[in-house]
Symmetry: C2
Subunit: 266 residues, 2 copies
Amino acid sequence: MKIDPNSTADYSAQIAKSIRDAIISGDLIVDNRLPSEQELAEQFDVSRPTIREALKRLAAQSLIRTQRGAFGGAFVRRLSYEDARKQHITTSTLLLSMNDISFDTACQARYAMERSCVGLVAENRTEAHLEAMSRELKVQQLPDLSDESFCASDVGFHRALVDGTGNPVLSYQMAGAIEAMQPLMNMITFTDRSRAEIVEMHAGLLAAAANRDTKRLDSEFARLEDYTLKLGRSVFQKRKSLRTNKGKSSAGANSSLILRQDGSET
Amino acid sequence: MKIDPNSTADYSAQIAKSIRDAIISGDLIVDNRLPSEQELAEQFDVSRPTIREALKRLAAQSLIRTQRGAFGGAFVRRLSYEDARKQHITTSTLLLSMNDISFDTACQARYAMERSCVGLVAENRTEAHLEAMSRELKVQQLPDLSDESFCASDVGFHRALVDGTGNPVLSYQMAGAIEAMQPLMNMITFTDRSRAEIVEMHAGLLAAAANRDTKRLDSEFARLEDYTLKLGRSVFQKRKSLRTNKGKSSAGANSSLILRQDGSET
DNA sequence: GCCTTTTTAAATGCCAGACCTTTAAATGCC
DNA sequence: GGCATTTAAAGGTCTGGCATTTAAAAAGGC
């Protein structure tokens, strides 16, 4: 194992890549112990701090865990569904919030993905899934519920629904759509949305899932998508006219998901 | 900004989290410069190496970039589609390869997701997308193509197809299904699959996309899913009988995606 | 002889201080 | 005014060390 001193990348990045590749290729398998930091330093011919930086990179991706003490060290970690899900949500959230993505694009992607679950939900949903959805539905009807809690329950409802596919891999993939996009879209539309209407559509989804009615599941999603899309458009229309009234040309409210802080663009 | 010396987490993990949260919340926006490592060390009251470890964690997630020299430093990085895609693929690949996930589950998830694109592909595909698909189709018919290249072209074909939705967010989300799962599934089935049959189904998908025929797109996907599923099952059936003949009970070939190296389970 | 306690060694976690390299701005020369 | 030189700021790396954790080995008590 050697590293290239002429590479543009840092030593720690090269070393991290080398170990990461070993994990992905299967040369290092779950719970294998890596050599100690001192040994790695000798193997790669760098100092211990450099090795440590490389290991921290891997730890940031949940690829290893470290354990102190005698016979401790760095071990290849089994990536759990929960870890993968969190990473996927973080990445998706950042991608959406740092790039100019239109509300329509996000909305379209979000619903296209969730609608891919309808057939499997109708087939595989259990009573437990229906109960979880029903629980969230009740929460959403509480009169004094904060907007944050309503959004959280909204996410919980949809998560329960996609869990109804009985396919954990699919649930994990859906997290990017539901748990990353839903809150961002909520942040834009919460002022104008009607909780009653959303609750009604959720109730429709729940009933369709209970009846294993694929077609109705799909049509309820179509309604929800349509509603959200219109809501988003009306919000951006309002913002646009507000801005126009103020006399700012501002190149048109581009209906982006990005909520800029202020004019600080240094 | 202070850190908790009694926390179970490392200082570097706590500091990384603190900065990461600032980025996600929008307190630090794209191209903002973080304080120098020396200044951060003073602010958090830790040493510079500890700060550096924290920054490497963030760099591993593509959240910051660093620049040497005067007026250099760490800057908040705009997460590009390509970065997000790579991370998503890596995470998905690892999740699949480190957990006991059945071939059926992976296959089901993969096709459910890609099929969610059919409507938008029919609507939004351009000539460029069709050409990209057509190019890959030709590659797949080359007689001396290696299995690796066939797999790569297979992925390329499906990527071009989902790009046909015209929705980059959806394309990004699909990468987890197509570019992570397809190669893993190929690794299992490449011995038994018929290239001619796959090419024929790809041709069907291309024709359907060209004709903006949503229904046919969906039925071709159903064919492909069915074929892949049967292929996977027959491969695992074979392995199972091989093992039984050898006299190993081995608790039944569990048709998992994991390809264990050998008996090394220390 | 067995159980409990103490010791010890191997790791990681963290720190101080230094030197090298890179880079862009400031300076000075022509 | 334009070009070459200097300089300072910042990250990249190394050496060496101390602190803390932890499990195994050794010692001791019953």
